[in-house]
């Protein structure tokens, strides 16, 4: 085990850019252990870029990213991959594998036990996110949008990770499914001591699920704290975000 550290993800003076454009500008952010941190920001404002940098998919111009005590780099990819699950916005399920095989693939690579036992656990995980054993045999192309999200979440949880990175997990889900999703994350967090870093625009999730909210604007974190605090921050974008009609209605 890594020494117990206060933060599960530590981002220090991170700069990410494409060509002459700087998207993430000297950003520092700590995600504490066992907390659920929601990241909000304008469309095209760098939320996904930040998440992809944390996932190791985009190189940093400067700064460093530490996950569970491992510095992001070529040598730590497997260790971080084992202990950090990711849910992509479009699911990113492997289209040539069935849903069940999508879950079994990382389990087979990292975990012990027999094929049959891992398969049982994989089915249990699919049931946990609300899919049936029937759905497990389907290919991703045969699933509806909401089912793809659930299957992708099950795959992100396949290795029982300690850190979960979610990119708009509840977008495309109906309110009931989104509520179930929030409940599931809450249960897992309590039992597994899960740390969750999620990009979301779902104000219900921000309100009921997230311990803290970070607002990204212009490549920097302009506010961070419990939702009530962030809502009160005097910043033009934050004001527009929470005091628009939709924001008021959801938080009323």
């Amino acid at each position: 085990m890594t020494p117990l550290d206060e933060s599960a993800i530590r981002i220090e003076t991170l700069t990410v850019g494409f060509g002459a454009k700087i998207v993430i500008d000297d950003l520092s952010l700590d995600v504490r252990r066992n907390e659920i941190l929601g990241l909000i920001g304008a469309s095209g404002g760098g939320k996904s870029v930040l998440l992809r940098a944390v996932l190791g998919l985009l190189p940093a111009r400067a700064g460093r990213i530490e996950i569970l005590g491992h510095v992001r780099g070529p040598g730590s990819a497997r260790e971080i991959g084992r202990r950090c699950g990711a849910l992509f916005q479009q699911g990113a399920l492997f289209s040539s594998l069935t849903v069940l095989e999508n879950l079994e693939f990382p389990m087979r690579e990292y975990l012990g036990g027999s094929d049959a036992f891992r398969r049982e656990v994989a089915i249990a995980k699919l049931e946990m996110v609300g899919l049936s054993a029937e759905d497990a045999r389907k290919f991703p192309a045969e699933l509806s949008g909401g089912m793809v999200k659930r299957a992708a979440l099950a795959r992100a949880l396949a290795l029982d990770p300690e850190v979960l990175l979610l990119d708009e997990p509840t977008s495309g889900l109906d309110p009931i499914a989104a509520g179930d999703f929030d409940d599931l994350i809450r249960t897992l967090r309590r039992t597994l001591g899960l740390t969750v870093f999620m990009v979301t625009h779902d104000l219900d999730s921000l309100n009921s699920l997230c311990d803290r909210v970070a607002a990204l604007y212009g490549g920097k974190i302009v506010a961070i704290g419990p939702l009530a605090e962030v809502r009160g921050v005097d910043h033009p974008w934050i004001r527009a975000y929470f005091r628009g009609a939709r924001g008021r209605a959801a938080l009323a």
Partner: protein
């Protein structure tokens, strides 16, 4: 010293992560306590995914019990929770901590469907089934081909009446890709084949003193058969596959659906320009290929057999009739049509998975080459019947 140990551990961490972590978290154990009323089980240690082997062994070996005490479980994840749910059976669960309750309850609530077993199969029946499927697929292919030919013909007739429906920019763009850009490779390939045929001809005909007829062999073979076939095969591999992949990925990303919902006919916008470009390009390439192959034959005749270029050209003009040239050129646009239509049919058959894109691209190339050779045979019968 510390640093050395640290470095060694880091290496170990990278290469055998689970082993080191296993050493630092205690193995899951299951103690059996005989009590009045039946057997009681007492679980302790870390019930987590890293110990999947040990957990499975515990489940398999565990006897039926009346009570299961989980107070000693230090760490729990869904793997462990699933193992406990399996062990529990009818037993009473005790010692559940507040932290672990949620997960244990969530896992206990699941229906726990058993994975579907594999049905034993009869090999003979399987072989017959796949033969039947292949035959019916071939029939379905013929229907799809005819349907696509009809669709493209309709789009073509529509475009004849409404000339603005010819997407000229698109046709020119595709003509550049499948025609102009293909010239160097086609010319080089046919040049080499012409040279090889000539060399083989001289080598074998020399024994009979029939070297003069090598020029007839090269000219007739190239103009009537080899030229157009080589160009068709190259067009199928180079352009048909690209068409299938393009149309297929547009199908995958629902771009074709978007086009249809706007009220546009995908056959007119996507398929007709591509097919027309190929129908223009393949005859042109066939002509270039034939000239290039004859040049290849001429070079071999000069360097290998000592037949000077003026004599080669002289013999060519005696050997080549307009008919041989016409036979090759008449076939070319039909070959192009086969390649283009097959590519479009296969492209539209692509489904959601990346695997199907690959499978369809392969089958586009294989089917169009096969059909082109069949068509060549049909033409041979036809030309024999009309005396060409």
């Amino acid at each position: 010293m510390r640093q050395v140990v640290g470095a060694a551990l880091r290496i170990c961490y990278r290469d055998c992560g689970p082993i080191r972590r296993r050493a630092l978290t205690s193995e899951p154990t299951l103690a059996r306590i005989a009590a009045d009323g039946g057997l009681r089980l007492k679980a302790s240690g870390a019930w987590i995914a890293d110990h999947a082997d040990a957990l499975e062994a515990l489940i398999v070996a565990a006897p039926a019990s009346v009570a299961l005490d989980v107070a000693g479980v230090e760490r729990l994840d869904t793997f462990g929770a699933y193992a406990i749910a399996r062990l529990k059976g009818q037993a009473e669960l005790t010692g559940v901590s507040e932290r672990q309750r949620g997960l244990l309850e969530a896992v206990a609530r699941l229906p726990h469907a058993a994975p579907a077993g594999v049905k034993p199969r009869n090999r003979l029946a399987d072989a017959l089934e796949s033969l039947g499927r292949a035959l019916s697929a071939a029939g379905a292919d013929a229907v799809d081909f005819a349907a696509m030919l009809g669709r493209v013909s309709l789009a073509f007739l529509h475009a004849l009446r409404h000339p603005q429906a010819f997407r000229l920019r698109s046709i020119v763009h595709h003509l550049d890709r499948v025609g102009v850009q293909a010239v160097p490779i086609m010319a080089m390939m046919t040049f080499l084949v012409g040279a090889i045929i000539a060399q083989q001809g001289f080598f074998h005909f020399r024994k009979f003193g029939a070297e003069d007829y090598v020029v007839d062999l090269v000219a007739v073979l190239i103009l009537r058969e080899i030229g157009v076939l080589l160009v068709t095969i190259m067009a199928a591999g180079r352009s048909g596959s690209a068409y299938t992949a393009e149309i297929g990925s547009m199908k995958m990303r629902e771009e074709i659906d978007a086009l249809s919902t706007m009220g546009f006919d995908p056959a007119e916008f996507l398929i007709l320009p591509r097919v027309l470009a190929l129908v223009v390009a393949v005859p042109a390439l066939t002509f270039i290929g034939a000239v290039s192959a004859l040049a290849g034959g001429g070079v071999v005749a000069w360097l290998y057999a000592g037949m000077s270029p003026p004599i080669y050209i002289e013999r060519l003009s005696e050997a080549v009739s307009m008919t041989s040239f016409e036979v090759g050129m008449i076939k070319a646009p039909f070959m192009a049509l086969v390649v283009g239509i097959v590519a479009a049919v296969e492209g539209l058959k692509v489904e959601g998975s990346t695997e199907s894109l690959g499978a369809r691209t392969t089958s586009s190339v294989v089917k169009s080459i096969f059909l082109a050779i069949v068509l060549d045979g049909v033409f041979a019968i036809f030309f024999a019947a009309v005396g060409m």
